[in-house]
Amino acid sequence: MVEQVMVHGAEWTAKELFVYPNEFIYWSIQIVMYPYMTGLVAGAFVLSSLYHVFGQKDLKDMAKFSLVFSLALLPVAMLPLMLHLQQPLRGIEVLFTPHFTSAIAAFGIVFTTYAIIVLSEIWFVYRRYFVEQTMALKGKTGFGDTVRRGIYHVLTLGAYDISPEATAKDHRAVTVLAAIGIPVACFLHGYAGFIFGSVKANALWMSPLMPVIFIMSAVVSGIALCMLTYIIIMEWKKFKAILARGRGDETVTVIAGVEMDVMSKASKYLLGFLVAAITLELLDIIFRGYTAMKSWDILRDVMFHKDFVKIFVLQYGLGNLVPFALLLLPGVTIRRLVVALVLILFGVFMMRWNVVIGGQAFSLSFAGFMHYHLPMIPHSLETYKEGLFGALTVAVTPFVIFWLINKIVPSLKEV
């Protein structure tokens, strides 16, 4: 009786000692990517709102960019979920029959609300530009221009008034939307933490601190990614300026000056959120150790033995402590900043990994372990979707989308 059956999870799960028969690592790499990507969305939006709402003028240049970038990240927050679902075509049911006692059901509503806010905010920021483009392209007859004009025409939603009074209204609308957007962004990510924190069956996940920890690390990773992308873009501009006018030209020093200025200011916010995130995470571990509930024996085994390198060396050491020192030591250079930012992004990724995979590293029996082996070379749809290449697809997509959006909504002009 040989049947070719694929048990979801069996491919990448290795069991050790006493594990219930049905236990596998059901939530794998895509569920690591999911809070990571949502975190980047929320973080990017919060960064842009710091300028729009709290008038942090020093972040003006970052604000437009990070707003558009958060739009590019938005569909990608949903992508890992779709890749993870066993029945992806039924995903829309979350909007049709939402069962609101589930944290995932909130996803449909919060995510849609958030998408609408981001889209509206971008509309208000760029409406004037859309109108101007429609006007500028009016007489042109080429195919590309006709299509572009059509797109801009639709994007104006028929609102052509760009008088000073009208644009003043746009600005006020942006401020209001950004203000509403901050709690929604936090909620969007807080509930991602809630999905894990509310699973009472999982000893590692169940913690009321989980949503807050998720929000803090989300903002950290979002700011870090925006800063990093900003640096890459500015370096590219500088490189082009050098090619065009030579190394000693004034424009090169101006670009470098602006870049350093924006970065040193943004890194202050980054440090603040980083401290908050680490404090909460450590509080969580200390509390678990001190109260030493039934699950502590197995949790200790996982944290201090099985996953010690992943948690304390890679996440806290390399991902938190080292960049913390790099950012605090005087005389920050762009190069050192880049190293620190990459490490921070890595650290937050490891945090997601250690929560999602670490939470499934031990059995519900508290008497056995499960080991996760990430599928590298895809040999079936499932090992692609929930393997290295699926994760890479998710990681690359926002940049492709950002590039596409920039064809229509130039977030980097006049920077």
Binding site: M1, H8, Y20, P21, H84, T97, P98, V199, S363, L364
Partner: protein, 257 residues
């Protein structure tokens, strides 16, 4: 021109909302419909496991897999039997190879050395299955209403509606849920709902030659099995999660996980 089009669109939108809202949003709260579908209120299914009678033959697991069309060679199962061996040094050795589909025929645990009988202080077998909880945490977390408790207390999965997110699998403290290898949706024990609603016993109960498994109606106090649950000292698994399970155990040891 634009003005009239805008007015038209606006009215169309308003119309669509007015039309869609009452039917779509309020329909799911209609009390008449709610009452009509509730199951017979005189039944609440329960289960009794007598661990002292179980010999670990695994006939229940085999019968369950065949009855409920769970691929026989897949390492997942709706019910399983665990073996616990406590040795003189105070250690507990536990296993359930293939969910005990082929029973326990070997003294080795986890492929290690066979445990010498003189080292054993106690050994026993514990059958596990879905607890059909009063407060099923798996149902609470389903985002789309694809898993639910029926009026007679059985937790079912709607195979045509489940999106396969796995949240219910994560939320069950007993590890009874898994993805069906063929249907690609969440799968679990339902006390053989198709059998018990026809007056038959679940396949595992029928297959057990030793009387280690019993089904009962907890609302019928004349049911001999219900009387045991009411009168004897029975235990439940993982009380601390507050799920209020309905599978009761006679002779449950503290080592049972």
């Amino acid at each position: 021109m634009t003005c009239s089009r805008r007015t038209f669109l606006k009215n169309a939108v308003k119309g669509a909302i007015a039309g869609a809202l009452p039917v779509a949003a309020f329909r799911l709260l209609s009390p008449a419909q709610a009452r009509s579908a509730v199951e017979d209120a005189s039944v609440r299914w329960g289960f009794l496991v007598d661990t002292a009678k179980c010999v670990g033959c695994g006939m229940c697991v085999k019968a369950c897999k065949l009855e409920n069309e769970i691929p026989y060679d897949a390492p997942v199962t709706r019910t399983w039997v665990e073996r616990y061996v406590v040795t003189r040094d105070g250690r507990t050795h536990a296993d359930s190879p293939m969910g005990a589909r082929d029973g326990f025929t070997d003294r080795k645990i986890h492929g290690g050395e066979a445990i010498d009988p003189s080292e054993i202080v106690k050994a026993f077998f514990v059958p596990k299955l879905c607890n059909q909880c009063d407060k099923p945490s798996c149902v609470q977390v389903c985002p789309v209403g694809a898993t639910y408790a029926t009026g007679d207390g059985i937790v079912l999965v709607d195979r045509s509606w489940c999106i396969g997110c796995g949240h219910c699998i994560m939320a069950c403290p007993y590890g009874v849920r898994f993805f069906h290898p063929v249907h690609k949706v969440a799968e679990k024990c339902n006390f053989c709902y198709h059998r018990i609603t026809k007056g038959m016993k679940p396949a595992c109960v029928e297959a057990c030659p030793f009387g280690a498994r019993h089904i009962c109606n907890l609302k019928d106090h004349d049911d001999p099995v219900t009387r045991i649950i009411l009168n004897e000292r029975v235990a439940i698994l993982k009380d601390e999660y507050g799920t209020k399970p309905n599978v009761f155990y006679l002779g449950l040891d503290h080592n049972v996980r």
